[in-house]
Symmetry: C3
Subunit: 282 residues, 3 copies
């Protein structure tokens, strides 16, 4: 069916939902790529928080249709010399600022095909100082949605800005990471992953850097948060009473900390940056 | 026209808009039911508030196209033994947890056709502990959107979890209910309904349980909030000065309390659970 | 391609995102104009703030496809005698209350073709007291989306309610306006515009009333905020250090005040109504 080949454009920004900025970007896309399907991932990345944007892209990209064009506008350097880029990603394409926002999905292939967007190929008008989402990134995404190759948008980018990987220190005793994000339910996502249940064991395949997988008995695994909390790895919420904390394999394969029927950030005082260790050999 | 037969999937969740969770669910739907139209009802049901979700479904379902699949993910029991279900609703289908979220729309027909979703029919992967919206409910809704009958999703559910109905006590003097919801304008929706203007009279047809309709003169109707406030039933905002409270038949046929140009929750100290009586025989 | 002629309906309301009101309006549109594309501009106009709605319409309308139907529901007079109207706009159509919400886009053509919506032509049911977005404006927008002319909706409106224009006082020394809006980044949009770079000069073509354009050297332009702040007009963020304020031509052609890497509203104490002068002859 023809509908199945509709290109998808996924939006991930820090525009918020109070202004019409996201709607204006959708308007530009409706003008320039009217046949594309547009999906809002979120517009509420904290203003200028490039690491949070990179994490949300990493977390969501595999669930969008193959070939999706990810339009990322978290851009604290707008109006400075930072470059607008378009890149190949494992599941599609990325369009946004060269500030590291694609870091957590980068492969050698990403850099090899990355281009710097040449604005003169998209419009004859001068882009605004502050709204490159409207004036540069949306037109570039629309061009890709219409089937243009990356090389149509501009010359090779060669080196790209890259964020440091999230913390994941592997030792014989366990894996130490940090809280990356508190979600709207108060659950804490950590950088310890990817974890996968495999029969009576758990496999940990480091997801932020090359490294050998380790495998350990589920029953031996305990999450340590500072010296205060030691939480056995749970398989279901029902293993702890309401109001009690638990550690479990979250929906992205990362170690997560929650409170059954409550908010882990409030109950345990969790916030991004707090170290968490998954101990697997006691 | 073919477009008119596009299936519609309506989302009603407590995901919030800050995380990418709703966007990920849309991605799964775009993959598995690319031809469906997806409409967000709201993602801001208070976390885990099943009664609020049931109310919003009740309030909105009749305005969606016939055959709409309502995907309800307000699921405080995720990761426990509560069952994933799919049901027939008066205007379409419902997919979500068996926690009562469909209660206010249930008919004998709902239970007769309800099924427990058999996850193995949707995917070979183990669902995550916390994100059944992505791993179970969206794939099930997509299956229905592609024309599958409910029975394809799993075996009969037989008994379903049901919420107690909102309060509506009928006496000869009037009908007593309670505030159910404060909307974003500060208006209070109560459980007294459904009310319908019929010439010089108002008809009250109890909407939460079987009961005979009553009919009374509009001019005799007064809303009592505790002992403090007595508000005659108004037909327009213009009947009270700016800053003053009024009682009227709200857009869902429920008795509502508002303040002309202000917020009734703040001016009158209203909150869910506060009793309200519509007196119709003085 | 047929898809390119899909009508677009753009929603701009003060419904907020917490209730299902915007979703219900989308449901009505899906029922009555299933082939239309629907774009949310924002649902978070401050409750009843007609001037803010008018500004956001002005700011966004040119970026939507030609022929877009703008559905504006910021309607503090709902339930009083204010009229429901439909109008011609420079880039399409407007549907909403006759309270001035279309003021900043009005041309003589707007009033000439404006009609008062005759509800009996849309539905046989009595509209609710408080939700004309669902009961009147969405059905009217759907009718236009299906190709009906304005005159199908009702009789000529003749006079329309009009807001006073935003402040823009031109003198030989400069142009004085006021802060109109603080966006989600804390940037202040002012009523001084439209400004356009033209080589080494800036052109100011008054956008709120008829008036002759003025042209001045970019290097001479300074934004004065009260007696406290004098900010030279910047061409890029990089011209000031992080944490420092700057004045620049914003993405809508209006003078804007921002703080590099910060919030201008907090750093400079800016809020709507505060006067700002662009001095261009020192």
């Amino acid at each position: 069916m023809a509908e199945k080949r509709l290109p998808t454009i996924a939006l991930l920004t820090d525009f918020g939902t109070r202004d019409a900025y996201a709607g204006i970007v959708r308007g530009v896309l409706a003008n320039r790529a009217p046949e594309a399907r547009v999906i809002d991932l979120t517009h509420e990345i904290p203003a200028g928080d490039v690491r949070a944007a990179a994490l949300h892209l990493w977390q969501s990209h595999a669930y969008l249709p193959a070939g999706t064009i990810f339009l990322l506008v978290v851009d604290p350097g707008v109006g400075t010399a930072r470059r607008p880029i378009a890149v190949r990603l494992p599941n599609g394409y990325g369009v946004g600022p060269d500030n590291g926002v694609f870091s957590y999905l980068m492969t050698p292939d990403t850099t090899r095909h990355a281009v710097v967007i040449d604005v003169s190929r998209l419009t004859t008008e001068l882009p605004s100082l502050t709204f490159h989402g409207r004036d540069i990134f949306a037109p570039a995404a629309a061009r890709l949605a219409q089937g243009a190759p990356l090389s149509d948008l501009g010359p090779p980018a060669r080196e790209l800005v890259t964020l440091p990987a999230p913390r994941l220190d592997m030792t014989a005793r366990g894996a130490t990471g940090e809280v990356l994000w508190i979600d709207s339910f108060g659950n804490a996502l950590t950088s310890v992953g990817k974890l996968r249940v495999s029969g009576p064991k758990v496999e940990l395949q480091p997801c932020w850097h090359l490294g050998s997988p380790v495998s350990f008995r589920t029953s031996a695994a305990v999450a340590e948060i500072g010296a205060r909390h030691r939480l056995p790895l749970s398989g279901t919420y029902a293993e702890v009473p309401a109001g009690e904390p638990l550690a479990y394999i979250g929906s992205s394969g990362l170690l997560e900390i929650a409170v059954h029927g409550g908010r882990a950030d409030e109950v345990l005082g969790l916030a991004p940056g707090i170290p968490v260790t998954l101990v697997f050999e006691g």
